[in-house]
């Protein structure tokens, strides 16, 4: 009777131990989100006292707001491209590095460097390099006879998104490599030796034995890529400005929300709709959380238990 678990449960003293964490979580996560949600149900422009409660009107407006879908589509395109890139090129380079080549440390540093550099700084360098007027890339292409590639990369609506993707890929490759490398180093050497003894060639060893073991890395990387690409902002902002130039062909949710909440120039704030921007941000967060959950569910199911 004394050890009845119900008795034990009725004491809540253990809650004191989570209190600091809970308080912190409430303060920096829950409270701001609730506050933002409250704000998103108003028509506050961001400056002044003109606020009225409009319920979910902002949200229903988003549902029919074409720029939101356009931006989300661009995010999706970046996500798919980066995902493919990381799971091919990233994986391949990780496999090469895992062979412990000479100067391994050097390669690893060089490949990881973009990750730790500020995207704002590197993005700025990229705009300069890609500039058709002062950039280095076009002259370089011409000097090796690739004149047909020396284009106005960023001002062409069809290639600008490609440039954004390329810079993002360059920047995030380090993550893919590090995550895959960690995964590869967890695959026991003996397993590969066993496969070799069983008659498998290098390719068969990789695809049939090594790769399936990388599924946790695959999952982690896919989810990180999803989150990273759907909240991308700095690359686009620096490369193509607050309007996702040219003509919004690189506009992503990040720039759209920023522009809506804070405006796109210092000359006029007439177009600023802060509350609407907050509503877009919250809706995006919600949709991303749901999709994340789905991705995890699908990919986790494929993972192996050991």
């Amino acid at each position: 009777m004394q050890s009845n678990p119900k008795n034990r449960r009725s004491s809540y003293s253990h809650l004191w131990f989570v209190l600091p964490g809970l308080a912190f979580f409430l303060a920096v996560m829950i409270f701001p989100i609730l506050f933002a949600f409250g704000l998103s149900m108003t028509d506050w422009s961001g400056l002044g006292n003109d606020v009225s409660f409009i319920g979910l009107a902002n949200y229903t407006e988003i549902l029919g707001y074409w720029p939101y879908y356009r931006a989300a589509l661009h995010n999706a395109a970046i996500f798919v491209a980066i995902l493919v890139f990381q799971h091919t090129v990233g994986l391949y380079i990780a496999v090469l590095l895992n062979e412990k080549p000479r100067f391994m440390e050097f390669y690893r540093t060089v490949l990881f460097l973009p990750v730790i550099l500020s995207l704002v700084a590197t993005g700025f360098v990229w705009t300069l390099m890609l500039s058709p007027n002062i950039g280095l890339i076009n002259p370089a292409l011409r000097s090796v006879g690739l004149d047909f590639l020396a284009l106005q990369w960023l001002s062409n609506p069809t290639s600008a998104l490609g440039v954004v993707i390329a810079v993002t890929a360059w920047n995030s490759l380090g993550w893919a490599i590090i995550i895959y490398l960690a995964g590869l180093q967890n695959v026991s050497e003996e397993l590969r030796q066993a496969a070799a003894m069983d008659g498998a060639n290098t390719r068969q060893i990789f695809w049939r034995v090594t790769f399936p073991q990388l599924s946790p890395a695959f999952t982690a990387l896919s989810v990180l890529t999803f989150i990273g690409t759907f909240r991308t902002f700095d690359v686009v902002y620096v490369l193509t400005g607050p309007l996702g130039a040219p003509n919004f062909s690189t506009d992503v949710l990040g720039t759209l929300i920023y522009r809506t909440a804070f405006g796109s120039s210092s000359f006029s704030s007439a177009e600023i709709r802060f509350a609407f921007g907050v509503a877009m941000a919250l809706l995006t967060m919600l949709v991303m959380a749901v999709i994340c959950r789905l991705i995890l569910k699908v990919l986790r199911a494929r993972e192996i238990e050991t």
């Binding site: 030796q193 070799a196 003894m197 069983d198 498998a200 068969q204 049939r208 399936p212 192996i304």
Partner: protein, 392 residues
């Protein structure tokens, strides 16, 4: 089916100064079960990896049958290996694990299924074919690893301590199962272990290694009776052979003096160790515990085959009484390093560690002074400088 020949096989890993395998010469005949034993780190796994083509040798050659395979890829050597860790593919079912070598070889599906079923039957795995290895017990995993090795019907098996992860009971069971399977399939097998019981019970021949150097290859019997050096002598046998510094004297009838007691060496021992006939002075004397008995239980003791000493310590194992006699003589311990012979001078008080296997009928108790009878026809003699047997 094929023999395996190793010629001067050596391996120095990058960044290590000492060879992990030093000029190993070994011939394993077709269908033979050879056990490779030695202490941890002596190069057993290295030897297997070189044979299997998982590492490139720094020198020497590997032949399978008449074929020199030194430069062959693993997959071209027709060898199957059971790894120390089993190395089962965690993402595949037991069926796929066993079938993997056949799938790689593109054997047709029906045939694979038939052969996997048959192997699973032999190994009592039929009930687990659809499970992932993560769900299996140690013994079951071990059998899956065996299954994956035997399904291909290779010409050589390599097994790297396949039983080391199992508990003692299961190990005994699996020991005989493996031995049986090997007999039935009649595949040349090189089996690595550091467990001497496995070595002695399973192998047709046993190769003992130390620090990358082969010490002796012989049948279990020969190893036990004619150890090539103090290392083999102390490695084989449990408890190990007692080794003491002693002094030889006499020319025809030879005597050996151990501390202040003297034994007369029987002719059989001289026959087995002809090297001692011309030798006087320091030697290392080896006496197996089972060659020492309570003199009270032996009616016909003669002078010169008994010693007297105090019982320092007694362990009763039921069938045997392990008696530790405090002998006043310098005891020799053999370390892992060659030339590594540590001598411990012992006084009666510090507890002499000459281990004797007395019959349970012995009345000897701790603290008693007992007379022990030594089988002087089964003494072993080693060169005190090199540790080599004086059998030449």
């Amino acid at each position: 089916m094929a023999s395996v020949t190793l010629q001067g096989l050596s391996k120095v890993y990058d960044g290590s100064a000492k060879p992990s395998l030093d000029h190993l010469d070994l011939e394993i005949s077709d269908g033979e079960f050879l056990v490779l034993v030695g202490p941890s780190g002596c190069g057993k796994s290295t030897a297997l990896k070189l044979i299997g083509g998982l590492e490139d040798p720094s020198g020497g050659d590997v032949y399978i049958g008449e074929q020199r395979v030194t430069d062959f890829e693993s997959r071209d050597r027709d060898i199957a290996m059971v790894f120390q860790s089993y190395a089962l593919y965690p993402h595949m079912s037991v069926f796929d694990n066993i079938a993997f070598p056949l799938q790689i070889a593109k054997v047709d599906k029906a045939e694979i299924s038939k052969r996997v079923q048959a192997v699973a039957e032999t190994l009592h795995l039929s009930a687990f074919l659809n499970q992932r290895p993560g769900r299996l017990s140690g013994g079951q995993r071990q059998r899956v690893a065996m299954g994956r090795a035997i399904i291909r019907q290779p010409s050589v098996f390599l097994m790297d301590e396949p039983l080391s992860n199992l508990d003692a009971k299961l190990r005994v069971k699996m020991r005989s199962e493996i031995a049986q399977i090997q007999r039935r399939l009649d595949v040349t097998t090189i089996y690595v272990t550091h467990d001497q019981v496995e070595a002695m019970t399973m192998g047709d021949r046993v190769a003992i290694m130390r620090e990358g150097v082969l010490q002796q290859v012989a049948t279990p019997d020969d190893l036990y009776r004619k150890p090539a050096n103090t290392f083999v002598a102390s490695f084989i046998g449990s408890p190990p052979m007692n080794l003491f510094r002693a002094s030889l004297s006499g020319t025809g009838d030879k005597q050996i003096t151990l501390g202040d007691q003297t034994l007369t060496i029987a002719p059989e021992s001289i026959e087995a160790y002809p090297g001692i006939s011309a030798h006087t002075g320091d030697v290392i004397l080896g006496i197996r515990p089972e060659d020492i008995e309570d003199a009270d239980l032996s009616p016909d003791t003669r002078a010169g085959d008994t010693i007297t000493a105090e019982v320092a310590h007694l362990e009763s194992l039921g069938a045997d009484h392990m008696v530790h006699l405090a002998l006043e003589a310098e005891q020799v311990h053999v370390g892992d390093q060659p030339q590594d012979q540590v001598e411990t001078p012992l006084g009666p008080t510090s507890g002499g560690l000459c281990i004797c296997r007395f019959s349970p009928r012995s009345k000897a108790r701790s603290g008693d002074r007992v007379r022990a009878r030594i089988a002087t026809d089964n003494l072993h003699f080693f060169d005190p400088a090199t540790g080599g047997a004086l059998n030449q």
